[in-house]
Symmetry: C2
């Protein structure tokens, strides 16, 4: 068992009408002037943005609005946000949306007091000292950014997608009302479910197989998400199922399912190149690549893949670990198809991927062949090419 740190200080306020406590929470955490950051029209159309603005106005909290965050959030928007914060003396960031909006807020938070170029933080050249506090009203359960320490930003120059992780990025509060997710289209619901399952996988499929409590909590979470996903796709306004999925998304990425394990994260790295190059949904990209990654790497801990097959995918516990592992991966791919997700790159992008594109992605993912990814199995550029080809 590996030593670990666990730090999940976000105050979660979960349930019906929870968004009405937004002003009180901002004040509790010292906010007086807020950047209200959000995405497209859905927050406006649903009336949520209006409701939040009323709460702020009634509480006498000043705010500046900045909408238009897109999936795979852009560096240019981050730069705009930082300028506004400096000019307007913003002291609190409020994200209304999903992981993209929260990640954009986190980037703005890190750039507010930083003298250099914020992108240097994501290139890991240096670290910022001071951050703006962040709160969020979550509308898309998927990325888990509401409780995580990470932010992923896309630099339009070269379509580079990079992450930066620091405890100061953990939201002070996260408001989660499952009703706010009723209007999510099926595709986005499924992408979200895939993302949260994958956050659990990245920690579950590691070299360490002796943290039983972490393993069994991860399995409980995965089983719940899978069965509730089918219910929600049938009945999008099923409150209890929306609630299970929403809470699972946070627990899948607040490190609970990784306590005492090393983690892997190769599938995420491989996918970042896919969504960087083709601007596809992160969740769908993960589904497209996971089966190939799993088959390529399972030998490193076949027991864990066999355990997964039995405990999560309910494969009959008969046969060798190898056989069980394959049945488990296959059952997982069937689940992905059952919720409308792709299980290869062609299904993802709608055409064959070229050898040149694979070479380009592997080259970026390995920093020109100089770096490796993965914890279960360390993957070089050649390994990445092999996995992309298996998944094509």
């Amino acid at each position: 068992m590996k030593n670990f740190k666990y730090y999940a200080p976000t105050k979660v306020v979960f349930g019906k009408d929870s968004e009405l406590s937004v002003a009180e929470l901002i004040k509790d955490f010292g906010g007086n002037k807020v950047l209200l950051h959000y995405g497209g029209k859905s927050a406006e159309k649903s009336g949520l943005l209006n409701k939040i603005e009323n709460c702020l106005q009634n509480a006498g909290i000043e705010y500046v609005k900045l909408g238009g965050v897109v999936p795979n959030p852009r560096l240019s928007m981050v730069r705009t946000g930082i300028e506004i914060c400096k000019k307007e003396n913003i002291d609190f960031l409020l994200a209304v949306g999903g992981g993209s909006v929260i990640d954009s807020c986190k980037a703005i938070s890190s750039g507010r007091f930083f003298d250099g170029d914020v992108w240097d933080l994501y290139l890991k050249k240096t670290r910022a000292e001071k951050y703006l506090p962040i709160g969020c009203v979550l509308t898309i359960p998927a990325a888990g950014s509401e409780m995580s320490d990470g932010s992923v930003i896309t630099n339009e120059e070269g379509w580079l997608k990079k992450d930066y992780c620091v405890d100061d990025f953990r939201c002070k509060f996260a408001i989660m009302n499952p009703e706010l997710t009723y209007t999510l289209p099926a595709w986005q619901t499924s992408c979200g479910v895939t993302d949260m399952m994958m956050h659990t996988f990245e920690r579950y499929f590691s070299k360490d197989d002796d943290m039983e409590i972490t393993n069994s909590i991860a399995e409980a979470l995965l089983r719940t998400v899978m069965s509730e996903a089918h219910k929600v796709l049938k009945n999008p306004t099923d409150y209890n199922s929306r609630a299970q999925i929403m809470w699972a998304g946070s627990l899948a990425h607040n490190d609970l399912t990784g306590c005492g394990t090393t983690g892997d994260w190769a599938t995420h790295c491989l996918e970042h190149e896919l969504s960087g190059l083709f601007d596809v949904s992160h969740g769908a990209g993960l589904a497209a690549i996971w089966g190939s990654w799993a088959r390529y790497c399972r030998c490193e801990n076949m027991k864990q893949f066999a355990r997964f097959a039995v405990n999560v995918m309910q494969v009959n516990n008969v046969g060798s670990d190898e056989e069980l592992a394959e049945l488990g991966i296959r059952a997982m791919e069937e689940f992905f198809h059952s919720i409308g997700m792709p299980t290869n790159i062609k299904e993802l992008i709608g055409r064959d991927i070229t050898d040149e594109e694979i070479e380009l992605m592997a080259d970026k993912c390995s920093d020109g062949g100089t770096s490796t990814i993965g914890g279960l199995k360390v993957l070089t550029k050649n390994d990445m090419i092999s996995i992309y080809k298996m998944a094509r």
Copy 2:
């Protein structure tokens, strides 16, 4: 599903040698002058106290020692601690020990800046405004106080045992090295295991049966604790098993297993009177009373007791909910016996309890018949008497 708040801001530093980071953590959370609070001779004999003192000295952190906390920690010790803090201008409390030491620290924390009598806080007459920050080095996995918001103190005048709960009681950090628990006697290990299982039960057996993710995480935790308990009792220096149990103790009481449920807490209330009157171990008292409570209250949610029997106690899923529920409770009592715990009051105190003693406990527990306990089933004084008699 019930709305809920979840707030677990404690920074957990878990694993071998984690106690060596104590000085750095105290400084991170602003501590300059520390009250070093601990229990009996075991922290001294094991060398742990010495190690901690060296860390503080090397980091230039001043401290005042206050040892001698006993199980069911006393109000008189709390008063002594508050006086020292005021006189010495202590700005940080460090608990080295188990739940009793941490609970004593919490009481001191609440009394430091409070003008009135600290016991009034535990009588819930009023609330304190300002608290001293607390950190802990945990040596007994059981009470879960290292991540909880609660503190239970015993007032020697009248042997009243009362709790006070507030988010400011949540430790800033919790250091957990499973090796520090190797020397725990079997009895204390078993009491701890019972306590953490019961913290899960109090949340699991409630009116709400629709929070699947919370239910399934609770079941994962319970199964793990039970199987690891047997391993640890056979081999007290099994690092991995000690680690599972230690981490389970925190997760069982940081509210994770109660998200979206109402909770019950009647068994805890009934037990507080037992350990208040007979000064027995809290864990053993819980084991002595739980079966009787469960049989008295199970009709309120028979489905959940049946589910428990199948998913946790691995009872064969054949028969009515009533039959399964009884088999589950019986299997639980067999487990308690297998780890040396009592399942009735006679086994707990070594003699028959009198009707007068039962009347006295029920009277205290119901504030002279004026208040009720319990969430699954609301229990009046007469119900309490019935349960104590079933358990005698």
